[in-house]
């Protein structure tokens, strides 16, 4: 299969869905004339014209709110927010409007709205441009939360998102845009709520999403050299969450490591851990390990930034702990 970049896969999804459905449109800062800060929307203005591809002023609450309104009126907006950090300006529209509309209207009102944005640390963009905020959306009933780790999932999930009637927080990662992978041409759909086993293994289950998937895979490769076969499970969508695949994997391996870039306190990893211990308590041979960001804003200094988010070695160490391999033993090995 041809290999394309994550950002190209996203563009292809938008392009195909705009072609397929005249109700799909996209707004965002610099997404039209300039093709977007991550070049996801390059070429769309030329192809679909200024009605359906629009630049906006710097007004995140307004953009998101207008998107939600358009969705309520039956259109299918994509609102691109440059950094997930800036989505905080539009939280009311997400939390109190988009997420609640369906219930508040007794089911009649639907909000086929997609917010695309990106998060994650790396490159010294500091505390206000580096967060991983999926937990905030995850906690709000009514929002779907999608975090693709590879180009094929990016395309398939975005196409699926654009056919849903509920608001979708589509969270990309700044470090994945230029990563490449095989992506089917044309109609390629990845349904929500279906985890993907990115690497099979029998000794320990590593659950990771977004940019932590490549990191978990590196760790798994390193663990394999020690004879440990880690299974890497990528939920792909956090809401809905594919509990079945996670629990089935843990039932096989009896050990779980959850890796998230977001800070440890109150992250999605905690929730997944709470589910595993609740539903697979008797499967577990060791405490569930959570590898997560430190409980701090991301520092500018590159070394400190690196120290603030999980690295390959952190995952390896956690897997060993889950397998009761003492640091001593490792050192001796």
């Amino acid at each position: 299969m041809r290999e394309i970049m994550y950002r190209e896969a996203l563009r292809e999804a938008i392009d195909e869905e705009m072609q397929r459905n005249g109700d799909v449109f996209i707004i965002g800062e610099g997404i039209a004339e300039r093709g977007g800060s991550y070049k996801v929307t390059e070429g769309l203005l030329a192809k679909y014209g200024p009605k359906r591809v629009r630049d906006t002023p710097i007004a995140e609450a307004g953009m998101i709110g207008v998107g939600v309104g358009a969705a309520i009126a039956g259109a299918r907006p994509i609102v691109e927010i440059l950094y997930v950090d800036f989505a905080m300006l539009g939280m009311d529209m997400l939390v109190n409007q988009a997420a609640k509309f369906r219930l508040m209207t007794g089911g009649d009102g639907r909000v086929p709205f997609v917010m695309r944005t990106q998060g994650g640390a790396g490159g010294g963009v500091a505390a206000q441009h580096s967060q991983s905020l999926e937990a905030l959306f995850y906690h709000i009933p009514g929002l779907k939360v999608v975090m693709p780790s590879v180009p094929a999932d990016a395309k398939g999930l975005l196409k699926y998102a654009l056919r849903q009637d509920d608001p979708v927080m589509f969270l990309e990662h700044k470090h994945l845009y230029m990563t490449k992978g095989p992506v089917p041409e044309g109609e390629h759909i990845v349904e929500f709520g279906k985890a993907d086993i990115k690497r099979p293994g029998k000794d320990v289950t590593i659950i990771a999403w977004s940019n932590m998937v490549p990191r978990a895979l590196e760790a798994a490769a390193a663990l394999a050299e020690e004879g440990i076969e880690a299974e890497v499970v990528d939920p792909r969508t956090l809401v809905p969450l594919d509990k079945d695949t996670i629990l089935a994997s843990v039932a096989r391996t009896n050990r779980a490591v959850i890796v998230q870039e977001a800070v440890r306190r109150g992250g999605v990893a905690s929730d997944i851990a709470s589910i595993i211990q609740e539903e697979a308590f008797y499967d577990l041979d060791a405490p569930i390990e959570i590898v997560a960001g430190l409980n701090i804003p991301i520092p500018f200094n590159l070394e400190l930034e690196k120290a603030s988010v999980p690295q390959k070695d952190d995952v390896i160490r956690a897997a060993r702990r889950a397998l009761h391999i003492q640091p001593m033993a490792i050192a001796a090995k």
Partner: protein
């Protein structure tokens, strides 16, 4: 007949429609408050009493296919938009036959199918939502106009600037109607902003903006009509500030003691229902009996709605479980 002539000689049918709408709102609120005091309605109830002229005049200038978005004080907009009073009362009584099946209540009544995007419990939120509907209409090439009813309070909120500015740069068919009732709960507008003439904020970002007596349903209607026509001709958005005053406190349980008596008296003397009634009598020749018949009919309609709502059932646990499963 040109607009000016029409203005001077509106049809009896039209005047009756205006009076009926305004009066229907008045009855709904007055009787609704009684239901509230009987404990039949829970949560918040923000009466539209005194402001009926605005919803009435604005909605009379709109047509099918248009959209409205409303506020926490939303019953009047809903009624003026032609909602079924039965389903409104049922919603307030948290019944399955209500507009939101009892899930929403007073602050969330919506009628999506007919283009009412709903009341809103977040002050200011209706503005971006309305601009969004106008954007959807523009993208679809429809000539629909969207009106957001908003408030003096919401005009000091960031959504006001952000969304009206978006509507402006995109030339959307959007009309923002500020119901300036001069209070946000107990805070008078003079304490909330230096310049209580809110239409100026539209001018400052290049939006055609007007001020009107919100207690005069016909004046509101005529101004809105012009605005609607301009919007349909691609000359939107337009801002309308309608000055008005509540007839009582902020919600059912607020005595509203902070409202100066003379000011209240001034506005009560300019009651929009009286003006609609007087217009109907003076401009179309309707007599007292005609009026009495209409009023009786509307009272009966409300009584019937209460009966309907009381007899309606609530959502069952099984239905609820099914609903929850979607989350």
């Amino acid at each position: 007949m040109d607009e000016a002539a029409k203005r001077n000689a509106p049809s009896r049918e039209f005047l009756e429609k205006i009076f009926r709408t305004a009066y229907r709102i008045r009855v709904f609120e007055t009787e609704g408050i009684k239901l509230y005091r009987q404990g039949l309605i829970r949560g918040y109830f923000h009466p539209y009493l005194g402001q009926e002229g605005i919803a009435t005049g604005v909605c009379a200038a709109l047509q099918e296919g248009d959209y409205i978005a409303s506020t926490h004080r939303g019953h009047g907009h809903c009624i003026a938009w032609g909602a079924d009073v039965k389903r409104m009362v049922a919603e307030l009584l948290q019944k399955e036959s209500g507009y939101c099946r009892g899930y929403g209540g007073s602050m969330h009544i919506a009628d999506i199918a007919r283009g009412n995007l709903g009341a809103n419990g977040i002050v200011g939120a209706g503005t971006p939502l309305g601009v969004g509907a106008a954007l959807a209409a523009q993208i679809r090439g429809s000539d629909a106009v969207t009106v957001t009813f908003t408030t003096d309070g919401a005009s000091n909120n960031g959504t006001f600037l952000e969304s009206l500015n978006l509507a402006a740069i995109w030339n959307l068919s959007f009309i923002l109607v500020i119901e300036n009732n001069q209070y946000a709960v107990s805070t008078p507008i003079e304490e909330a902003t230096r310049d209580p003439d809110l239409y100026k904020r539209g001018l400052s970002i290049g939006v055609e903006s007007h001020q009107v007596d919100g207690n005069d349903p016909l004046a509101v209607y005529h101004l809105t009509r012009e605005a609607v026509e301009k919007c349909r001709a691609g000359k939107g958005p337009i801002l309308i500030e309608a000055k008005t005053f509540r007839h009582m406190g902020h919600h059912v349980n607020d005595p509203g003691k902070y409202m100066p008596e003379e000011r209240l008296a001034y506005y009560k003397a300019r009651d929009p229902i009286d003006r609609a009634r007087t217009a109907l009598i003076e401009m179309s020749g309707a007599d007292k009996a005609d009026i009495a018949a209409i009023e009786a009919e509307i009272a009966a309609e409300f009584a019937e709605a209460v009966g309907f709502a009381k007899e309606s059932r609530e959502i069952t646990p099984a239905e609820f479980r099914e609903f929850v499963a979607a989350y």
